[in-house]
Amino acid sequence: MRRYRLLATILVALGLLLSACSRPSDPTPAQTPATSTEPPASTPSSQPPTTVTVWSWRVQDEELWAKVQEILDANNENITIDFRGIKSTEFDSVLKTAMAGNDGPDIFTARGGAGTRSYAEAGQIEPLDSIDLSGFDQGILDQASYEGKVYAVPFAVQTLTFFYNKQIFDENGLQEPKTWDELIQIMETLKSRGITPIAIGGKDGYAVNLMVDVIGATWLGDQWAQDAIDGKTDFTDPKFVDVLTKVNALTKYAQDGFVGTAQRDARTLFATGQTAMIIDGIWAVNTYYLQTDPNIQLGSFLAPPAEEGDPVRLYPYVDGGYAVNAQSKVKEAALRVVAYTATDEFAQLYADLFAEIPGNKNVKFDAKKHPMLAKAVEQKNELGLKVLFRIRSPFDSGTPDISTSLGANIQGMFAGMLTPEQAAQAVQTDLATWYPAFKK
């Protein structure tokens, strides 16, 4: 027994020694310091040192906040940013638990639409009246507002499209499809040549939902979305079922075992050239694809329509905004940080870093450096849906929300347990339990 006690003591001591030896994690140092610094809203340097915690489901934002930290330091702000990135699938529950425990972060990314409204309604986030929001379009601000007040500074507008590997297309003599049949033809060709046409992250509900958004943008359009919102049509409509059928049709061309593939693994498959296409958001380009293979040649196209020349549409949505916790113990500092995120300078920083479309419209895009981004901006401005039907739509704000229901039912469809009609019906039934216009 004594022998073991000695051993145990040694091991414990070793463990403590090792943990004492290591440095706490520093955020990765930013490469180049930011350009000209505009002083933030109120006077700095006379404040006591404060730590402001920031939570986001965008794990990649670590670098962004490191740059913000530099700017704050350069302005003698005496604020330390403590950033925590949480996996998207866990973010909501972790945040909700923390907020319920009076233990939430000072600043967090609130999802556009319902995500912001629910916290605003419960009085858990601050209205941002004191912040200059002149750089933002009203439509964008609306998605982060509640009862006329803005509660979050929108940080990005995301666009969803098909992405394809230009090299694979060129090698096989393929062009961007102009009609849906052409798209299927492309898939067939690739498949017959032993190339997996498309990567699908069937394990992640949110990823399969993106497929509905992209295909639905072209095949449903603004009018249908507005009708659905008004209750004039619903999700059992043949047009919606057709979208689900199309989604299902694509699975024939997906990688083996796609139902078990998480979206991040699907992205790896696409980025390493093992599949030719993927449906994803513009944020994936810089954060995932180019990180894996900086030389990958990317192209994108919107869901093709039935006939050549028919309208094609893009699904854009406000990803989220920076909200300030009403219970924050360092609210003043947090508000100053969020005020900074509303500046043109921050927006430019964001756009340069992530090649995404920031909320603030006063940004310049370098078409050569970020070709996908330039295309996305153009498509958003010209072909963007004005009325949304899935993510960030009115259907996303109740329980069960359309995203949860749709994702799960599509997985059921993929498993062959539900037909597209049944999946659509299941979604409709779920929405009808709370959506006013559907309660007949």
Partner: protein
């Protein structure tokens, strides 16, 4: 004996009871009763929000109001499926392996150690490790299958609605098998040798020896194991949460009362939780299922006790 001490010394034993009693009352007894109380209210947990008395409505919602009832009955069904799987793979397989350990001459200690080893690892960590192993594209399991020519069996283990639940349970068994093996083994070793040897002399086969002699003697222990399988099946949460997320996909095929409970109380992806009262009701229902069975098991266990 020492109560004869004078003055307050007589009651000093209360001081010795307090460090155990106070945390117990505060963190186990009170929450239990509070769950029951909370289940009769509708409340979203935010301090200052109104608590509304709704009587049995939370229970009604789970029992027959879709969409809650669909989720509830599906999760409940899954819990029973898990129980069945555990009976076979945990108690059944465990007993079999334990019996084999009694039949070999050498190496029992070695096997025992290895079989038990995963039990010392955290269940959550086990889930993380196996989620990597079972990845359909990059995981070692499918890679191995493909390498030995069994590529056809290289399925999306965690992504297929029919395979996901058994797969998760298989991982759970990998983690916990050492326990029933050890219990069954200890029980089997307590069987007196002379009885078995006498049966051997009389020409009884190994199987008969087991079935007629060993089995009845170890039955109380097996019942114990089965009772633990039951409470284990109804308490499963971490492994599903870690491997499939709070939504227990795909298509809720791995949803259990534990994950449903978590989602109801704390919200899954999409940030809409339905309330703490509702969650408490679910907890109470689970209590009502698990507690009687545990009590019942310990009672009938005595009935099967065999005097040796």
């Amino acid at each position: 004996m020492y109560l004869g001490q004078k003055g307050l010394g007589r009651y000093s034993f209360w001081l010795m009871l307090l460090p155990a009693l106070v945390p117990y009352l505060l963190f186990k007894v009170y929450p239990f009763f509070n769950s029951i109380l909370l289940s009769f209210y509708d409340w979203n947990g935010v301090p200052g929000s109104p608590k509304v008395w709704v009587g049995l409505e939370n229970y009604a919602r789970f029992l027959y109001q879709p969409p809650f009832s669909t989720m509830f009955w599906r999760a409940l069904r899954h819990n029973f499926v898990v129980f069945g799987l555990l009976l076979m793979w945990s108690t059944g397989l465990g007993t079999l392996l334990a019996w084999m350990l009694t039949q070999i001459r050498r190496g029992a200690g070695f096997y025992k150690g290895i079989i038990f080893m995963p039990n010392t690892i955290s269940l959550a960590v086990t889930g993380f490790l196996w989620s990597l192993m079972l990845n359909p594209q990059f995981g070692a399991v499918n890679a191995l299958l493909r390498k030995v020519g069994l590529g056809a069996l290289a399925m999306p283990w965690l992504g297929d609605s029919r395979l996901a639940l058994p797969t998760v349970i298989a991982v759970n068994v990998w983690h916990g098998l050492g326990f029933p093996v050890l219990i069954a083994l200890a029980a089997m070793l307590s069987v007196p040798r002379d009885i078995l040897e006498a049966a051997e002399v009389d020409g009884a086969s190994r199987f008969t020896q087991f079935w007629r002699i060993t089995f009845p003697i170890i039955l109380p222990n097996l019942i114990n194991l089965m009772a633990l399988n039951f409470s284990g099946a109804f308490g499963l949460f971490e492994i599903v949460f870690v491997m499939q997320g709070a939504e227990a996909g795909p298509f809720y095929s791995t949803d259990l009362l534990g994950t449903l409970f978590y989602r109801t109380a704390f919200g899954g992806m999409g940030a809409t939780a339905s309330g703490m009262g509702l969650g408490a009701a679910l907890a109470v229902v689970t209590f009502l299922i698990v507690i009687p069975v545990s009590l019942f098991a310990s009672r009938i266990q005595r009935r099967f006790q065999v005097e040796v």
